[in-house]
């Protein structure tokens, strides 16, 4: 399965990156392809391209705040979770998406 995700949190210092790491680890373990865009204190990094979004089977938003550029995902299957969830239960979330 091909996935894209965006992580963000109120201060954008730590949790954004932990969630990204967690999702990337879980995806690798479960054999999914994933690209994670982080929207943190350093701005948007690893930004998703139109092709990334186009080719994704699902979009995962792990954010405690409104995600920037949300309109990019119109018409896609979008799943939202809290940042904490993404950090703690990344595997479970990804399994749920696949199922």
């Amino acid at each position: 399965m091909k996935l894209v995700a965006v992580t963000a949190c109120p201060t954008g210092i730590a949790h954004t990156y932990m969630a990204a790491e967690s999702l990337e680890k879980a995806a690798k373990k479960l054999g999914h392809a994933i690209r994670v865009e982080t929207q943190g204190a350093m701005g948007i990094e690893n930004a998703l391209s139109d092709d990334d979004v186009e080719g994704a089977d699902a979009v995962l938003l792990a954010a405690g705040i409104p995600v920037r550029g949300r309109e990019r995902f119109e018409g896609k299957r979008v799943v939202e979770v809290s940042v904490q969830e993404a950090i703690r239960n990344a595997e479970k979330i990804l399994s749920g998406l696949a199922g």
Partner: protein, 839 residues
């Protein structure tokens, strides 16, 4: 004929006691009378009466004038003009430490806010945390005021008054003699000067004669009159002077009614004084072994009671209003002089919080202490004495408290200014010997009188000159005022019996000048020896190098001088031929210019070649970024104003001697001051400790048992390490984040964080819990370790944010978490954090 000098009142705090007594002091040297006129308030005053001056309610910016009449009115006007221009603008009180309390209503620390007991809020007037039983005065009126007295004959009442004034003055003097610090002495002296104020005495007598009242009533009426004016002034510092007057009035009345001016109060155990107010004399009469804290309904930040409390290190909160009266005597009371809070009957959580606070204050203090105790040296241990420039005993005391390795320059001009004749040998001896005693073995370099130039001393009769800086001043006047110099040198010689005292001669241009002073010292020393008066016969006599000619005569000078000290301010002025206070040429005055550095380098080498040690006293020594450069020059000593001492010491401690030398060589090869400054900044930047974590930011055995306590403990770690400014405000920022969503991230880890202007260095603090802690409501998994991430608001660049992002990512992996959980000590844990962040 009269002379009138008009001016705008320049002191921000208005004409309070200190500027008033300085103004009075300036006039005291002249026979002419002077009237102070405030055109705004319309009030006038005898400029020789401090009290009358204060009562003019003069505020900053008021249009004022001084009208001078008398034989020496021209000279007096000239002295006043100089005083108004040079001294008065600097006469404001040094601002008290900024307080977090009251007016801004800073957030309460969580532990207090959550405790559910009333917390009384006031003004943080004197720092520290105190705990004790509340003690209240037995009766405010003292009984004395209530007794109504029939007035006797006016002459009888005036005679009583004489007796009371004399007894009260004697009591003040006796107390001053017993005073435990300079502040107490100064405040008692201020009370004495109010007591001796001609205006006060005259008004009390007028009151007796014209209204036929008794002496006690006249005292109360008169002081009440002045206090009323002061209270109505709308100026907090003037209002507080009313307390001094009331205090004096009560002492006078006690004596008039047959009591003693002194009243001692015995305290049974650790006590906190809780009352509407406390007079300065009241504080001095309380048993200070047991007086732990003071909580007052009235009062501000600058009353003499507060200043005394600060000097004695007694925590004090003022401005509690009516709440102070509601405290039941005997209740356990905590005075938080850091935040301006008072808690009565504290529950266990509050006590635990203050246990932590007390411990933190102690570790902050011991951190400073360890630093202060360490003498100035480079990272590889080359000693560079970091000494202080002072002009009074008060400043000397501050200097040693700030960690000075000695007094590198004791300016004595101020002992000679604002008076009619030079201070006596005994008077000077007292000052120099006291400085030597405070120094406790560290050197005290007393500079002989540097009169003339910008430091006029009327009674020396120095001529007015077109160009005073190139004129008859300092050592050049000694031939004409041999007796003044001899008295000063004798005082210095005699003070040398009390410690390591040295003499230093200013403005030496040629070897003859220092040779003459030397010869005089020898003959004075012989005279003292003949009389059997104790002194150091080998007193070191050195000289300032502040005239370029001296720089090129070191071999001859070294035959007469035991040491040298570069006066960089004057030396640079003479070297560049530019007055640093003249805006149009001050850009030419630049001590960091390579040309000037080459001169300094030649002087230091020359002095060392002659086997003499050499220091530097001047503004240049105050600039922390220049300190490695000065060490590179090979200076043995740097002397500067006290507040900069710790900064200079800590900068020196981070650079090795060879790096300093290389920095100097690189600077000497440059062509402009700007280029040198760039080099110095780059060096300073490379030396600052900007690592994310250190041993000090980690505690592997947390004391906290709850999330609230843990957040505070983490914040305190960063605070003690000097990485966070205001711990309460930073804690509040952490809580604001904590409240949006829990920062527990699973795996038994919590990651509280905040971005705040109170963060000085981006940092990570780590706490490990022996017993896991529940991280807030709804969190099922207890936390075994918490990392607090502190990011400076507006921190330049993303470098640190990137480190923290990469650290956060690593926390998701088991390996790093296990490494932290199993780290054997703080050092190792900090190393792991720094390492994880850099990958």
């Amino acid at each position: 004929m009269a002379v009138e000098v008009a001016f705008e009142f320049p002191v921000p705090g208005g004409l309070h006691a200190r500027p008033a007594s300085l103004l009075r002091g300036t006039m005291a040297g002249f026979a002419s009378s002077a009237t102070f006129v405030n055109r705004r308030s319309g009030r006038t005053a005898n400029a020789k009466s401090t009290l009358a001056l204060v009562a003019t309610l003069t505020r900053h910016g008021d249009a004022c004038a001084l009208r001078i009449v008398g034989a020496d009115e021209e000279a007096a006007a000239e002295a006043l003009r100089r005083f108004l221009r040079d001294d008065l603008p600097l006469a404001g009180e040094t601002a008290p430490a900024p307080s977090r309390a009251a007016e801004s209503l800073a957030p309460l620390p969580r532990a207090l806010a959550a405790a559910g007991v009333p917390v009384l809020r006031g003004i943080a007037a004197s720092g520290g945390i105190a705990r004790g039983r509340a003690v209240a005065p037995e009766s405010a009126a003292d009984g004395a005021g209530a007794r109504e007295e029939a007035a006797g004959e006016a002459s009888f009442e005036v005679a009583r008054l004489d007796g009371a004034f004399a007894a009260t003055a004697a009591a003040l003097r006796a107390r001053a003699a017993r005073a435990v610090n300079e502040t107490e002495r100064a405040i008692l002296a201020a009370h004495l000067s109010i007591l001796e104020d001609p205006e006060l005495r005259t008004r009390i007598e007028d009151e007796i004669r014209s209204n036929g009242v008794s002496a006690p009533r006249a005292v109360r009426a008169t002081t009440g009159h002045f206090a009323g004016i002061l209270r109505a002034s709308g100026s907090a510092s003037l209002e507080e002077r009313a307390l001094d007057l009331k205090d004096l009035a009560e002492q006078l009345v006690r004596v008039l009614l047959g009591g003693s001016a002194d009243a001692s109060v015995v305290l049974a155990g650790d006590a906190v004084w809780v009352a509407e107010d406390l007079a300065p004399s009241g504080l001095l009469s309380l048993d200070r072994r047991h007086l732990k804290g003071i909580a007052l309904g009235g009062g501000g930040r600058t009353s003499h009671t507060v200043i005394l409390a600060r000097a004695a290190g007694i925590p004090c909160v003022t401005g509690l209003g009516g709440a102070a009266a509601s405290v039941t005597p005997g209740s356990e009371t905590i005075v938080d002089g850091e935040r301006g809070l008072v808690v009565v009957d504290p529950p266990p959580a509050v006590r635990r919080f203050y246990d932590g606070e007390t411990e933190k204050l102690a570790s902050l203090r011991s951190r400073l202490e360890a630093f202060r105790a360490a003498p100035g040296r480079t990272a590889d241990g080359r000693p560079v004495e970091v000494a202080a420039n002072v002009a009074s005993l008060e400043e000397a005391r501050l200097a040693f408290r700030s960690g000075a390795d000695g007094i590198g320059l004791f300016r004595t001009e101020f002992l000679f200014m604002n008076r009619r004749e030079p201070p006596s040998e005994e008077e000077q001896l007292h000052v120099y010997a006291e400085a030597a005693r405070m120094a406790a073995g560290r050197p005290v370099i007393v500079r002989t009188l540097d009169a003339g130039g910008d430091k006029p001393i009327p009674y020396l009769g120095l001529p007015r000159e077109k160009n005073p800086f190139l004129g008859f001043r300092a050592v050049r006047t000694y031939g004409e005022h041999r007796e003044v110099l001899a008295a000063q040198l004798r005082a210095i010689l005699r003070a040398s019996a009390f410690g390591k005292v040295r003499a230093m001669v200013p403005m030496v241009a040629t070897a003859e000048e220092i040779r003459e002073v030397r010869a005089l010292v020898r003959s004075l020393s012989a005279g003292l020896t003949a009389k059997g008066i104790a002194h150091d016969a080998g007193l070191e006599v050195g000289m300032m190098v502040e005239i370029p000619s001296a720089a090129f005569a070191l071999p001859a000078l070294a035959k007469e001088a035991d040491f040298f000290s570069i006066g960089s301010n004057d030396l640079a002025q003479y070297f560049f031929a530019a007055d640093r206070e003249n805006e149009r040429v001050s850009h030419l005055y630049s001590p960091l210019h390579p040309a000037f550095l080459r001169l300094l380098s030649a002087i230091v080498e020359g002095a060392h070649r002659e086997g003499r040690w050499i220091g530097l006293c001047g503004e240049m020594g105050r600039d922390p970024i220049a300190a490695p450069l000065l060490a590179g020059l090979g200076l043995d000593e740097i002397s500067l104003a006290s507040p900069g001492i710790s900064a200079v010491k800590s900068v020196l401690a981070r650079s090795r001697a060879d790096e300093c030398r290389a920095l100097l060589d690189a600077s000497l090869a440059k062509e402009s001051a700007g280029e040198v400054e760039t080099l110095l900044r780059a060096h300073a930047e490379s030396k600052s400790d900007r690592r994310l974590a250190s041993r000090e930011t980690v505690r592997l055995r947390a004391r906290s048992g709850s999330r609230e306590e843990a957040v505070r403990e983490l914040v305190d770690l960063l605070h003690v390490a000097g990485r966070v400014g205001d711990p309460d405000r930073f804690e509040e920022a952490v809580w604001r984040r904590e409240e949006t969503a829990s920062t527990a991230v699973g795996f038994g880890v919590a990651l509280p964080h905040a971005r705040s202007a109170d963060v000085r260095v981006n940092s990570i603090a780590l706490l490990r819990f022996d017993r896991p802690v529940a991280w807030g409501p709804g969190e099922t998994e207890p936390v075994r370790m918490a990392l607090l991430i502190a990011v400076a608001d507006g921190a330049p660049g993303d470098a640190h944010l990137r480190l923290i992002a990469s650290l956060s990512r690593r926390l998701v992996g088991d390996e790093f978490r296990e490494a932290l959980l199993s780290a054997p000590d703080e050092e190792e844990a900090a190393r792991r954090i720094v390492e994880a962040a850099s990958r």
